[in-house]
Assembly symmetry: C2
DNA sequence: CCTGGAAACGTAACCGATAACGATTGCAGT
DNA sequence: ACTGCAATCGTTATCGGTTACGTTTCCAGG
């Protein structure tokens, strides 16, 4: 923790080495036009003086900060996964990552906050950013990659194959023999929510099972929103034998409600979630869910953003990642059939 | 996602408003020496042009970036907690947070990596940083606050009251009637590991129970390191009736090993951890542990660092936060006594 | 009417680094 | 010896703001 107060600058190096700052700059950046002798000499004085180039000054001159932003409205466990993926993608790439999260984690979810913050940083501190929360169109001079974008948005984005994932999940339940399958939807403004519901409907229809609108609860991805919906579904006389929730957070709440109502999972009720957050593996019973690897989403989003910034992005601006079904112990054949 | 390419600068504002950049700067920063009329006029042109001051240029001039760093060697769940706390402390403070994590999450844990990275960023991009991984002394021009510092370090730090926490944990086991209590230690270079072991010894000694060195396993906080140690302890003929692990990660591994060996928790074995990570609450059985609120540690560390940077830190440079025992279902009286 | 001084504002140096451009040097070709 | 072209290196403008300092304006007091 020794405090060394020697902000040694490039001109210090230049003076000591007896060259101009331009030459030092060329050596530092490995540019052409410096003799081997001079390079060695400058290198050694840099070493000797312990010079470190100022990222701030470089950023100003190059009008590139090499810092990317990750913007989210709340920092949950899945956000951490996204973060890990993004960090992995950015490691040793020369880019750093800065995090912006809403201060009021829940509740007074100030609409303007993120956008203001985003606008502020987008032109100044970062070269671009990843957003994990859905607002409509985002105004920015710099590239923005959305993870789970809003429905109808057209900008760069990375998302899971929600349609296929949801279809597989419901097919799993159908294969077990379930016919009355409830669904708890996510916030409809999100593309992901819409696709997952679509997958639910498609799987049922394909199996010749009519879609019963009364078995669909309208949640918003917030776990708490699932509680009354689950309760309503499970207190019906003709309650479903299985429930598919559009997110693990909501599915875990379904498990809680079932426990509270004395309904055994999976004997009396099968539950399937979507996301595969860490908690789903460690809960009891383990939650059957669709893995969408937030890590992977973060990884790909960061990779795309980086290339977008450096201007060498080849792939499509909208990326869809595969999902996989993770069968744990929250699903089983229904009682009357099993 | 509309791309607006109008990097409007301060001189743009000055030109349009018909004043000098100095005046615009004064208005932006609310400095004295500008008439009310001019202020209003400049404000309106700023609004009209949508001007945003460049954080990079400001940082260069002020030689302050208003960015703080969080450095860690691996991004685990507890790191996420620290991060959340730090973000909370920094919200609306004008400071942003940037994350540095080791790319190779496990294994080839390159010693020099962090220090190099730290040195690099410390003088250039950030005004100071929080480190969550223990290296000896850290060389830096900017303030560094350590969370769980290395034993013997003297710089600013924030840590839990590990001694008291560990003592309480062991006293809990003693109160239940346990006498043969195993201990799995953490990496000894850490102050925290040392204090927790000290608490274990103190509690036993105070209760008149001799410390049996063969009941102490030397782990390193890495969860995997606990597996062989737990196995060794539990396969003894005179195996302990309780095990206190210096971290939840290791304690959870103890639970796994017990399950694998067919030892029932808490009937045949009580287990206590330290940290209270989220997984400890959702596992089955719930892990009794010492809560040290990584969130709080992150919060206080960020608060301290911020004040250290702005130069108005009043409190002590070493902070110790209280802990609390969280009793769940992994502890119970030993069989022969219960 | 004149002077003093504070208020209001502009000028320009500067933060640290980069790069376009110009100047110098060295050496091969004739 | 002279020209020409590279290689090498220095000069200087510039990135966008900030601020010390100088200048002008304006009003009150003598």
């Amino acid at each position: 923790m020794t405090e060394v107060n020697a902000p040694v600058t490039m001109s210090d190096v230049a003076r000591v080495a007896g060259v101009s700052t331009a030459t030092v700059s060329r050596v530092v950046n490995g540019h052409y036009g410096v003799s081997a002798n001079t390079v060695a000499h400058v290198r050694s004085t840099i070493e000797q003086l312990g010079y470190e180039s100022s990222l701030v000054a470089t950023s100003l001159r190059r009008s590139r900060t090499n810092v990317l932003g990750l913007v989210t409205h709340s920092f949950q466990s899945y956000t951490a996964e996204v973060l890990k993926g993004a960090m992995k993608a950015l490691s040793r790439s020369g880019f750093d990552l800065i995090i912006y999260a809403n201060s009021d984690l829940y509740g007074s979810y100030s609409e303007g906050w993120e956008r203001r913050h985003l606008t502020r940083l987008s032109g100044t501190l970062t070269d671009g950013c990843i957003v994990v929360t859905p607002w409509g169109e985002v105004q920015s001079r710099t590239p923005v990659v959305a993870i789970d974008p809003a429905r109808g948005s057209t900008g760069p984005s990375v998302m899971a194959d929600n349609l296929a994932g949801a279809t597989t999940a419901v097919e799993h339940l159908l294969a077990l023999g379930h016919r009355r399958i409830g669904f708890i939807a996510g916030r409809s403004s999100l593309e992901a929510a819409w696709s997952r519901e679509e997958g639910y409907r498609a799987a049922l229809t394909d199996a010749g099972v009519p879609v019963d609108p009364t078995l669909i609860g309208r949640g918003d991805f917030n776990p708490e929103s699932a509680v009354p919906l689950a309760r309503a579904l499970l207190q019906r006389a003709d309650r479903p034998t299985a429930i598919f929730a559009a997110s693990d957070g909501m599915a875990l709440k379904v498990l809680e409600v079932a426990r509270e109502l004395g309904i055994d999972v999976p004997a009396d009720l099968s539950v399937v979630g979507f996301d595969n957050i860490p908690e789903s593996a460690s809960t009891a019973p383990g939650l059957t869910t669709v893995d969408q690897s937030m890590y992977q989403l973060g990884y790909e989003a960061a990779r795309m953003l980086k290339s977008l910034v450096t201007g060498d992005w080849e792939g499509p601006r909208r990326m869809v990642l595969p999902t996989s079904l993770v069968v744990r112990s929250s699903t089983a054949p229904p009682k009357n059939t099993g």
